[in-house]
């Protein structure tokens, strides 16, 4: 199955990003395809490479970046939501790219399911 994913919350403050990541990993392991992960609202804060959690905690940003590197998952950050929150190309972690909301709608159209993670 081809699956699009929408992440609406930032890292650490909210579990949405963790749940989305674990869902993506499980879906890939089960043989499904993650068409794209789209980051919206405070979800854009998942993309900043300046995130430095304590050593004994999981690194949410690096985890997403690894998923992109190992499985070619397309990580897209909404440009309008990003600009509002100071997320620009210079602060992006590896594997993320900034683009428009059309990328979310496009993924929703061509995927079998769109799964939303947020409040």
């Amino acid at each position: 199955m081809k699956i699009g994913v929408l992440v609406n919350e930032g890292p650490y403050q909210h579990q949405a990003s963790d749940s989305a990541y674990l869902f993506c990993r499980a879906a890939i392991e089960a043989g499904h395809e993650i068409d794209r992960v789209f980051f919206y609202h405070d979800g854009v804060n998942n993309a900043t490479r300046f995130t430095e959690p304590p050593q004994d905690d999981r690194n949410v940003v690096v985890r997403w970046a690894k998923l992109a590197e190992e499985h070619g998952v397309d990580l897209v950050v909404c440009v309008a939501a990003a600009l509002r929150r100071g997320i620009v190309d210079d602060v992006l972690a590896k594997g993320f790219r900034i683009s428009g909301l059309g990328q979310l709608v496009e993924s929703a159209i061509r995927s079998d399911r769109l799964v939303v993670f947020g409040d």
Partner: protein, 123 residues
């Protein structure tokens, strides 16, 4: 799905218009999906019904009053607006309090509408 295909999108608005940014940024997605010529409908429930309240005045909180955008949705061919009756009644509101012509439906009917939708996005 093939390129050029039309899917049924439903945007579920559950939060008050101010206090958090969900309603404002959610509306942006509605407008973009309409530009993709999709079959778009909106549902308002829980505190989301406040998004459609007449006479919003945001001067005192120094935020943009974006409620006129709901009236402009028709220009984007988005004219299927549903309001959950239970949410409206629980807040002491009636259809006359709303700034758009939305269809008030009971929760069970809204659930059936959601069931017949391809893409459900909740903000």
């Amino acid at each position: 799905m093939e390129a050029g295909s039309v899917r049924k999108f439903m945007f579920v608005n559950r939060k008050a218009p101010y206090g958090t940014i969900y309603a404002l940024e959610g509306l942006e997605v509605v407008l973009i999906s309409a530009a993709f010529d999709q079959d778009v409908s909106l549902a308002f429930l829980d505190d989301g019904v406040y998004q459609l309240l007449k006479g919003q005045d945001t001067k005192a909180i120094e935020e943009k009053n974006f409620s006129p955008t709901y009236r402009a949705l028709e220009d984007y061919d988005v004219d299927k607006l549903f309001v959950e009756r239970e949410s409206l009644e629980a807040r002491g509101l009636t259809p006359a309090d709303l700034l758009v012509d939305a269809k008030v439906v009971p929760a069970a009917e809204l659930a059936a509408l959601m069931d017949s939708t391809d893409v459900l996005i909740s903000f």
